[in-house]
Amino acid sequence: MFDSLSRRPRVRLLGCFVALLLAMTTNSVLAQNADRPATPTTGFNTDKAEVHESEVLGSAPLVGRVIIPDAKSAVLVQENGRWFRDYRRGTQIWIAAAAVPGMIGLLLLFRLIRGRVMIEGGRGAQVILRFPAFERFMHWLTAFSWCILAISGLNNVAGRIVLLPLLGNENFSTLSAWLKYSHNFVAFPFMMGVVLMILVWLRHNIPHPRDIEWFAKGGGLIGHEHPPSGKFNGGQKAVFWIVVLFGTCLSLSGLAMLFPFSVTDIAGMQLIQVIHGGLALLMMAVMLSHIYIGSVGMEGAIDAMKTGEVDLNWARAHHDLWVEEEMKKGTIQPHAAE
């Protein structure tokens, strides 16, 4: 009794197992027979129709699996590189030509037509403090670092065409290596300068309806009229916002390139490269005009960033509302020029 109880389930279990095994093998044999071609192909490959290079290669990077830690090496083929190459060898050169020699040409033309913008009524006897030392410091911090970044960046864009034939391979390589390092490290003082400018100058640069009037009247540059203006006129506000917005975008894209592949993949790196270069070239065009009008283009303008003190007549002509405000507050008094 005890014996039969223990044996019977075992027999039943065995029977079930045999039946299951039989069912599985017949099923799979049937299935295999159905799939198998009339003439069997040689080799291990039974799924040849599943993949062909021409079907999986396309504009998107083809990513697989690799056994090495370098994740970006899992991209087998990426044909996106083609547009990056075309942009770098074609479009970008033209943008650079328009932005830098093009802008210099325009400024020369402006100089020929308009001449130097003079202080109307000439310099007066009095000067007024426009930019205290700290504001001048942050301006020049940003300005000098920007110049280094612009020159080294331009070298990467067009140095091979312009400088390489002049300097020869070895000299040009040495120069480019130093410019590359300066670009990577001078980026940080530039970023600091942009942050300081946002902190100190943002409140003076909130857009105002009178800025539209300033632009409509050509800002006293095209005509001889001087539209009313606060500490910063419409044009200066535009320069401020271009520095801040472009500077921020350039800083962020630059950081992404300083830490390559830390935030994005190969397609993203190409895009960041293109955006960084494009924005920088546009900014160069704007900054060239800023440099011109702030130095040789306008009498008295450089004083604001040299000593910080500007001619009172100049200030009244270009920043009348600011002068009025300062006089009212009485904190900064005009005094006799040295």
């Binding site: 192909t41 290079e53 697989g64 699996r65 087998l76 091979r160 480019s176 830490f259």
Partner: protein
């Protein structure tokens, strides 16, 4: 002169990574640099293929086009090489390369990559004398100068990876495809050489 090419017959590659190991050993490349790698696509799915990939020594090479210091050159065998004395390690060639071939010895931040390193088709490089110790230290083996093909292809256990004159290896591949009745294509040929092997 021959037009040297690589061809990976993905239907034969068993992802043994012998080519990777052979390359590392032949050229004594530093840690972290993989001049050659094996990428498996459709891993674990129907149509899984492994492809051994390195520099394909392209026609009109994109790396050479984007290089800001023009440090690339093409040999008489149409092997794309570069001069490490001129390279500034900017990383542009990696962005342009369709095959992810350029490698950089440093992975430190702030854009310091070190001089770019890539497959030389086992043919040395630079201005150093063929087979010299200086050449070996900088670029690795110069088997081509000894009349030998790249070690990766020579050591391929299934003869999946072929190296040699483009026309000869294309003929071998197309004969294989005809015989066995299938082939997943000459990977990268269209991108690198603007041609495919018609079987």
């Amino acid at each position: 002169m021959a037009r040297m090419k690589f061809l990976c017959d993905a239907d034969r590659c068993i992802e043994c990574n012998a080519c990777v190991t052979a390359c590392k050993n032949a050229n004594e490349v530093p840690w972290g640099i993989n001049r050659r790698r094996v990428v498996t696509i459709n891993d674990g799915k129907p149509g899984e293929r492994s492809v051994s990939m390195a520099c394909m020594h392209c026609n009109d090479a994109p790396c050479a086009a984007v290089c800001p210091v023009d440090c690339f050159y093409t040999t008489a065998d149409h092997v794309v090489l570069h001069n490490k004395d001129l390279c500034i390690g900017c990383g542009y060639c990696f962005y342009a390369c369709p095959f992810g071939a350029p490698q950089y010895p440093k992975t430190t931040n702030f854009g310091a990559r070190g001089k770019m390193d890539k497959c030389t088709y086992c043919s040395g490089g630079g201005d150093e004398a063929d087979g010299s110790a200086a050449e070996y230290a900088k670029y690795g083996a110069n088997r081509m100068a000894e009349g030998k093909l790249p070690l990766c292809a020579e050591m391929c256990s299934t003869k999946s990876l072929l190296a040699g004159d483009g026309e000869i290896i294309a003929a071998i591949y197309s004969e294989r495809v005809k015989t066995r009745g299938y082939g997943s294509g000459a990977w990268g040929w269209n991108t690198a050489y603007q041609e495919t092997i018609n079987v």
